[in-house]
């Protein structure tokens, strides 16, 4: 019984690692370059959850000092993840731009077709 409660109370980690592995799987298994980027984004998003979830304390509030509140949530992980999201967006944008260029150069965004056209590189 305790094990189940333990597991359920850590449900956020289960979600995190499910997203993580699912994203990674998409990156590895798909040959379509857009789908790869989607998988990559999923993978990155799982990390946002990893950081953000422990930062929140149930019943806690934003750390604005006020005698009315005793419990505060840690804001730092949220700030960090704001940065990480920005980085993720930049990566995604650059990746998509590269895919556009690849499509212009090769006429396809399927990896196997590109390799067939250029030989394995």
């Amino acid at each position: 019984m305790k094990a189940i409660i333990d597991a359920v109370s850590h449900y956020n980690y289960f979600i995190t690692f499910f997203l993580m592995v699912a994203g990674l799987y998409v990156v590895i298994s798909r040959g379509n370059m857009i789908k790869k980027l989607i998988g990559l984004t999923l993978f990155q998003s799982s990390v946002y959850l990893l950081y953000v979830a422990p930062g929140k304390i149930i019943g806690g509030t934003a750390p604005i000092i006020d005698p009315a509140f005793k419990v505060y949530s840690n804001p730092l992980p949220h700030v960090l993840i704001l940065t990480a999201i920005v980085v993720g967006v930049a990566t995604l944008a650059l990746g998509l731009a590269l895919v556009v260029r690849i499509n212009e150069a090769y006429g396809t965004i399927e990896e196997d077709e590109i390799f067939a056209r250029d030989g394995e590189i």
């Binding site: 993580m20 790869k36 990559l40 993978f43 992980p77 980085v87 590269l98 895919v99 590109i114």
Partner: protein, 498 residues
């Protein structure tokens, strides 16, 4: 001077950052180049000053960004080791600049030349940020700054495969960076701190039930960083990236990017986890031994069978990284000294080699090994620098490469690992094969029609090559500076192992 001095640790990061900002405003490549030239040389001067200061004081120089107190604010913390890596990155970056103007003008479209320099400076900013900061999350941000600019640099190559190589690197690089953030996240959950020194201190006193997340964090961090430093078998992105990037980008990346990743690995292994908990349960040194030796041999063999000269050198880089990680796995004074000094020596030698190939590409436009036929006579100075640096890669005494291998072999002996000594020397023999192939083609084949009119590149390109080739010899004979600093760096790292 007095006013600047307290801000010294952060300046090497800020100078190229603002340089990148300025050069982005220019439309003409030449103006952007001038900005980049000034920025890199300034950064190099400041970095060397910083290193000298770190050496003189013998204590880490701490700088609190924005005046926020450690461990809440971001700290820049410079000791001998990262001062050394910072000086290496900026100096190489600066030495390349005179070479860059003609090469970039030749290889890159007029309207994006300015962007090239912007990305170059941003990449340098990122690398220096990783090196100098003492904050784990700050490392991630700079890691991505350098990575994103690197993808752009690679995609600027002339061949359409360059874009593909950039995309592939983007996927792998992002996975690596994300692994790194996961590792940091787990560490943060355990210690509640992002300051590297603070994490280290808190890990030392962490209760044993935290061992599992800490070990997991170590695993994520190791894999993430090893993707960046292209440790075999996580190296697949590197050969294409180096082969299709513009020459100048290849020179810079080969000389510095992987070195900074190695520094990061050193920092985490020794400073952060050195005193940590639960590490005896993970066979990291054993795994590193296996992968390092595999890199030294398999990558060298790949190089020996490669027909594109740039890719050949890229595989050679993977093999040389194997040497460096071997020293890390040895984890004793001599081994680490060998590793750290090889950061410098390999940077110098590989930069020279890639510059020589860049000069060939400048004249001929191609770098298949068969295209080098007869160049020994047509481009004598270029090929001479190639040969000198190639001898360094082989590890001939009197060149810088020998010094690194000497210390690594000594480290292996101190550990009582005799066979390693033979592994180290025999893999250099494979280097003899692939360097020898180029030499034979360049000196004993008759030049092809295209190569007949080729001659040495202009002096602005020759001078940096000659300078680095001379450095290859210099650091092979007089090692007081290089080995001296590396030994200090090794002491700093091993100090964390108590």
């Amino acid at each position: 001077m007095k006013a600047i001095e307290p801000h010294l640790p952060v300046l090497p990061v800020l100078i190229p950052l603002f340089g990148a900002l300025f050069s982005a405003f220019f439309r003409r490549g030449a103006s952007a180049w001038l900005v980049a030239l000034v920025a890199t040389w300034l950064a190099a001067a400041v970095s060397c000053w910083l290193l000298a200061k770190a050496l003189a004081t013998g204590m880490p120089i701490s700088y609190q960004l924005g005046g926020w107190a450690v461990p809440w604010g971001i700290e820049y913390r410079v000791d001998v080791l990262n001062g050394f890596v910072g000086a290496l990155v900026t100096t190489i970056g600066a030495v390349i600049m005179p070479y860059a103007r003609r090469s970039v003008a030749h290889e890159i479209d007029q309207h994006v030349q300015a962007w090239f320099y912007t990305m170059y400076l941003l990449c340098m900013t990122g690398l220096l940020g990783i090196t100098l900061t003492g904050d784990a999350f700050n490392v991630f941000v700079f890691l991505e700054v350098s990575s994103l600019s690197t993808y752009v640099l690679i995609a600027m190559g002339r061949h359409r495969r360059a874009v593909l190589a950039a995309y592939q690197y983007l996927i792998v690089g992002t996975i690596g960076a994300t692994f790194y953030v996961i590792g940091i996240g787990l560490l943060y959950l355990v210690t509640g701190s992002l300051n590297l020194a603070d994490i280290s201190a808190r890990l030392a006193t962490a209760p044993p039930e935290f061992a599992r997340p800490v070990v997991t964090a170590l695993g994520f961090l190791t894999i993430g960083i090893c993707l960046k430093l292209a440790l075999f078998p996580l190296h697949v992105w590197l050969p294409n990236a180096y082969a299709y990037a513009p020459s100048v980008a290849t020179v810079f990346l080969a000389a510095t990017a992987t070195k900074v990743a190695v520094y990061l690995l050193l920092r985490f292994f020794f400073t952060v986890f050195g005193a940590g908990i639960g590490l005896a349960s993970v066979p990291i040194p054993e795994l590193l031994f296996v992968f390092s030796i595999a890199a030294m041999f398999i990558a060298s063999f790949s190089a020996a069978f490669e027909n594109n000269a740039k890719r050949m050198l890229a595989y050679s880089s993977i093999a040389q990284i194997g040497y460096i990680t071997l020293g890390i796995a040895l984890a004793n004074q001599s081994g680490l000294t060998g590793s750290i000094v090889h950061l410098l020596n390999h940077a110098i030698m590989k930069a020279t080699l890639f510059m020589a190939l860049g000069a060939v590409a400048f004249r001929l436009g191609v770098v298949q090994i068969s295209d080098l036929a007869g160049l020994g006579r047509k481009m004598p100075v270029t090929m001479a620098t190639f040969v000198v640096a190639g001898l360094g890669i082989i590890g001939v005494p009197g060149t810088a490469g020998f010094i690194s291998k000497w210390h690594l072999a000594l480290g292996a002996l101190e550990k009582g690992m005799w066979p390693l000594v033979f592994a180290i020397v025999s893999s250099s023999l494979i280097a003899l094969v692939y360097i020898g192939r180029v030499v034979e083609v360049a000196y004993f084949r008759e030049p092809a029609a295209a190569a007949n009119k080729a001659h040495d590149p202009p002096i602005s390109m020759l001078a940096p090559m000659l300078l680095l080739a001379a450095a290859t010899i210099w650091f092979g004979l007089d090692t007081r500076a290089s080995v001296g600093i590396a030994a200090e760096g090794a002491k700093v790292l091993l100090g964390g192992l108590k």
